[in-house]
């Protein structure tokens, strides 16, 4: 891994605030972000990332690389859970339901990991294309369907339950806000964005710092309270992002994405959901243990990606493309 990427990662205030939150929670500090503020930060970040992505697409237009990236994201999200499921059953020793639930998390994506990656990648001259926000939104859902099929062999036990789950999957707050603000950004374009730039651009990094402070606190507190995590599952929670991220980076390179978008696709494949998928799994697979899937994705994989994964896929992209 080249030193510029490592230096950029570990001197970034965004990353350091995450480390602060994680360390504070491990030290059993009572530090916390008030609930209403944490929700506000999350809404702000999703609206900002969607808007900026939409504006970038309005500026660059839609080319064949956009369609290729979206198709690759969709297929990867659909297939990644299959490999994860096999490893979780064979090595992780999970039953079908829990393995399916965990696999769905690893095929889906983490918005916060993506937002953090964009900041870090921009810092090392690998800014991803704006349309990667749309790829992010596309990758949220297919893995949920694969996970349910693996766990149950069906998408739901009854029509009303299936409708409830699909409603959660397609109309959850993050998908609606991300895609909605992406559309607003694409319609408004660069000129329209100028009017709201002071709010959505100037404050973005500061808000991300505070949000990652909160995520560090949440991740570490869940880790210390967990009783369900075995060493085998911890190993898989670190192996999955490495393997999936390398696959994503190689696919991005193979389909001809620009280096920044290639690294971002690697990060998306490496990341595991802890917002949209847990709610969908709670509805569809209530017997699956959130102590397993949430602790793996939020307390092991998420910190791994923030501290190591993003830099790893940036370095791999540089090695592949010579960027």
């Amino acid at each position: 891994m080249d030193s510029a990427v490592i230096t950029s990662t570990f001197t970034s205030p965004v990353i350091l605030f995450f480390v602060l939150g994680f360390a504070a929670a491990l030290a059993r500090s009572e530090l916390s972000i008030p609930e209403a503020i944490a929700k506000g930060l999350s809404l702000y970040l999703m609206a900002a990332i969607g808007l900026k992505g939409g504006v970038a697409v309005a500026r660059s237009g839609i080319g064949p690389d956009v369609a290729a990236a979206m198709a690759a994201g969709f297929v990867l999200s659909l297939l990644i859970p299959v490999g994860a499921y096999g490893a979780l059953r064979a090595f992780g020793r999970l039953d079908k339901v829990n393995a399916g639930a965990v696999a769905a998390h690893y095929g889906s994506v983490s918005v916060v990991t993506f937002v953090t990656a964009v900041e870090v990648l921009q810092g090392v001259g690998l800014a991803p294309a704006g349309y990667m926000v749309a790829v992010l939104a596309i990758m949220e859902t297919p893995a949920i369907l694969t996970g349910l099929l693996l766990a149950r062999g069906a998408l739901g036990s009854s029509e009303s339950r299936r409708g409830e789950m699909l409603h959660e999957v397609f109309l959850n707050a993050s998908v609606v806000l991300l895609l909605g603000s992406f559309a607003i950004g694409a319609i408004a374009g660069p000129e329209g964005f100028e009017d709201v730039r002071p709010l959505f651009d100037a404050g973005f990094k500061g808000v991300l710092c505070l949000f990652l402070l909160d995520m560090g606190l949440i991740a570490a507190r869940r880790l210390t309270a967990s009783r369900a995590l075995t060493w085998r599952l911890i190993v898989l929670a670190i192996l999955f992002p490495v393997v999936n991220g390398v696959i994503g980076t190689l696919v991005g390179f193979a389909i001809g994405l620009d280096p920044g978008s290639t690294a971002a696709l690697g990060v998306l494949c490496a990341s595991a959901s802890y917002i949209a998928v847990p709610a969908a799994m709670r509805l569809s697979l209530p017997e699956a243990d959130p102590g397993v899937y949430l602790t793996m994705s939020l307390s092991v994989t998420f910190p791994f990606n923030i501290l190591v994964g993003i830099a790893l896929f940036a370095a791999l992209t540089r090695a592949l493309s010579g960027a």
Partner: protein
């Protein structure tokens, strides 16, 4: 002296995404009202937990008051999924004013 009658107060601790299943069951047995209260932290057989806001693993308390007959019907309806859905159901007698409303 104000006249009171005995009714059942039922509390169901549930994960937030599953609260809709509980309120649907309450509606289906003909209980006319319910309230949802936030729960900030706790500890149980699965370990400690606290409100995380973003993960969908937060818990809520669904509260309702009903006649003994309707409370029994609700308990029967929820009993088969108490373990699989991780619900905690408790009920006890309370005195209420305007008993015809419950």
């Amino acid at each position: 002296m104000i006249e009171t009658v005995i009714r059942k107060r039922i509390e169901i601790l549930a994960d937030q995404p599953l609260a809709g299943r509980v309120t649907s069951a309450i509606d289906e047995v003909g209980i006319s009202g319910w309230s949802i209260l936030p729960v900030t932290a706790g500890s149980g057989r699965e370990g400690r937990w606290r409100e995380e806001r973003v993960t969908g693993a937060d818990k809520v308390l669904v509260l309702t008051i009903a006649s003994a007959e309707k409370a029994g019907a609700l308990a029967e309806r929820l009993a088969p999924i108490l373990t699989s859905h991780g619900f905690l159901l408790t009920m006890w007698d309370v005195e209420v004013i305007r008993g015809e409303r419950f």
